[in-house]
Amino acid sequence: MEPFVTQTGRAVPLRRSNVDTDQIIPASYLKRVTREGFGDGLFAAWREDPSFVLNQPRYDGATILVADTDFGIGSSREHAVWALLDYGFRAVIAPRFGDIFRTNATKAGLLPVVLPEKTVALLQDAAEADPPASVTVDLAGREVRATGGGLADSLAAAFEIDDYTRWRLMEGLDDIGLTLRHEDAVSAFEASRPGWLPVTQ
């Protein structure tokens, strides 16, 4: 995956809670057998509404999505992450994420950032302002910063992310390669498993 260190750009306010992965990428797009090209299906149903935020030219080229709470709930489809990445997003900011979505995001190089609801609302206002704020998601410094967009003062909000996930994202590391370094431990564990456990063949 592509490493993520810091990202500065235009943010898109998505003022909806409980955005499930069926909305992010409808099931009809899931018949494909590749990882590429899912951007066309991103929020496919909502994008049919001309007033939907992603249809507004002022958000063209945005790289940061700022959503309300419980973003990415529901289906485990990693296609939701692939669709956001393919469309051009590198980070999603929300007060809370669906567990599986958040994990999938960190495996594919999309940074999920948890910030308090009030901060998210401030960022959404600043992203909507004319001219809009410039938003920086700094994984190295574990901080989101915003300037302009009607903000009286520059905004700087720290976010939490565990050291291991941060390191993996910053290095763009493949989890499988990391695990295979411990193949001896896996083999030893396998040798200790009880014989009555089921096998499929």
């Binding site: 003022r15 994420f97 567990d99 999938n104 291991y164 009880p194 089921p198 499929t200 063949q201």
Partner: protein
């Protein structure tokens, strides 16, 4: 390993740690990996690109369930291509072909459409006895939580993690917190496992379980059949919890005994001894506890566009201002075409769907058939009954349930995910409204523009009879 009192989830976790290092996620061993056609092709491509194999094909099993049709399945060997194939969508066909090619190339057991053991991935695992207490089970599907009903730690994963499990039979995981959902009292007659889990989700909210493994406990849980427990654990993800489980007990052991992959003879006794050691120890602490009184519950139905937006069927469409998320409620009412104050019982439906990994097992079909026996599906209403597996279908036919359904005017189908998820031929049309025994009422979940009300199999059947949301007691 600690000698302090531990929860069921902690015991399973501790028994599967391959490697634990300060500041890193634990590396967990995976006892069983379930695979289906939709979330696996890219994972196999990854294996191929890296020159890797499936580390443990003997702990891996695949089925075709999500995108395959549930009509025209003539039996084993039903063709995937040609004029006699039930699969008419070329994109779906390509995906199924990819699974078959991957199964052959990587030595993975596969139950293809038409096969006697084919079915929804979360129905066939327990049915085959592959799902056992104390195991760690994963699948590229969020409803993997279903398998927690037998006392396994089971959770859904994404395609990158599917590839990781295929390659290493392990997963790096951060240990979640634990939540006890204590269900006191007994469920009143006519109130089912589905009503219970809808009530639990309405209480916790769609994000309330985020970061937790839920253990369902208490009298009402102990009294549930295995099918009912599978329904409850299935929808843990709809409360935000990646996993939900129930301690194994005599119900579990009776369910497992004699199944094709359950241990037998001396191995059964050894396994049983281990399984009996699994339940949460007296004095073990949960990070959060929630209590629900089962005795006051009535049939539940969703009114909105997430599973937490549910109310007793006797209630009315809520005023958004009275809900915990007014903005979401207002948007949901607009999408659902509903007006606040309308009695839920007055909502007419076009389609009734009985099936899915939530409610596609034999007990669910029996419950629906009990309501439909001697009655007719209302004129203008379409009813689909889709068994969760071909084995459930066979059992239902032996019991004559299929005749009850067809005599009532319902369609009797072959096994698959069908109308649960809008990626096979069974979908709702824009604006069409369903009463569905599935698990998600998200916008467009059952087809673009479709409107879904989640219900139990008994409520689904009663609704089919009247053409509006109805409990069996109302008939």
């Amino acid at each position: 390993m600690s000698s302090a009192p531990r929860t069921l989830a902690e015991k399973i976790w501790d028994a599967h740690v391959v490697r634990s290092e300060q500041g890193e996620p634990d590396l967990l061993f995976i006892d069983l990996h379930l695979v289906h056609e939709v979330t696996s092709p890219q994972a196999f491509d990854g294996l191929r690109a890296a020159g890797r194999k499936i580390r443990r094909p003997d702990l891996t099993i695949a089925t075709e369930d999500h995108n395959v049709p549930t009509t025209g399945i003539t039996g084993p060997g039903v063709p995937l291509t040609g004029p006699d194939s039930p699969v008419t969508d070329p994109v779906s066909r390509t995906q199924v072909e990819a699974l078959r090619r991957n199964a052959a190339e990587f030595g993975m057991r596969l139950h293809p459409m038409g096969d006697a053991s084919q079915g929804i991935v979360h129905v066939i695992g327990p049915q085959l006895g592959l799902t056992q207490p104390g195991m760690v089970i994963v699948c590229g599907d969020s409803h993997t939580s279903t398998h927690g009903a037998v006392g396994a730690l089971a959770f859904g994963i994404g395609t990158s993690e599917v590839e990781h499990v295929l390659a290493t039979q392990t997963l790096p995981q951060v240990k979640p917190k634990t939540m006890a959902v204590n269900v006191s009292g007994a469920l009143p007659s006519g109130v089912t496992a589905k009503d219970l889990i809808l009530a639990i989700i309405a209480e916790i909210g769609t994000g309330g379980g985020q970061g937790y493994i839920i253990e369902y406990r208490g009298e009402a849980i102990r009294s549930l059949s295995m099918d009912g427990r599978l329904t409850v654990c299935n929808m843990s993800i709809e409360a935000g919890a990646r996993a939900g489980l129930i301690a194994p007990d005599e119900v579990t052991f009776d369910y497992l005994k004699g199944r094709p992959h359950a241990p037998s003879g001396a191995a059964w006794e050894t396994a049983l001894e281990y399984w009996r050691s699994l339940p949460t120890d007296e004095g073990a602490a949960f990070d959060r506890e929630v209590t629900i009184d089962a005795s006051v519950l009535t049939p539940y139905v969703t009114w909105g566009t997430n599973p937490g937006q549910a109310l007793p069927l006797s209630d009315s469409v809520p005023d958004p201002a009275s809900t915990r998320d007014p903005g979401a409620a207002q948007r949901a009412l607009t999408y659902m075409g509903l007006t606040a104050g309308t009695p839920l019982r007055d909502i007419p439906v076009d389609t009734v769907f009985v099936g899915s990994c939530t409610n596609g097992r034999i007990s669910d079909l029996r419950a629906a058939a009990d309501v439909l026996r001697g009655r007719r599906v209302a004129s203008g209403v379409r009813m689909l009954v889709v068994p969760g597996s071909m084995q459930v279908r066979q059992l239902a036919e032996e019991e004559g349930l299929n005749e009850v359904f067809t005599a009532a005017g319902a369609e009797w189908r072959s096994a698959g995910c069908s109308m649960c998820l809008g990626m096979n031929p069974d979908t709702l049309s824009p604006g069409e409204r369903s009463a569905s025994t599935s698990n998600r009422n998200f916008e467009g979940r059952q087809g673009k523009g479709g409107r879904t009300h989640l219900v139990s199999p008994a409520v689904a059947a009663a609704t089919a009879v009247t053409g509006r949301l109805t409990a069996p007691a109302d008939l």
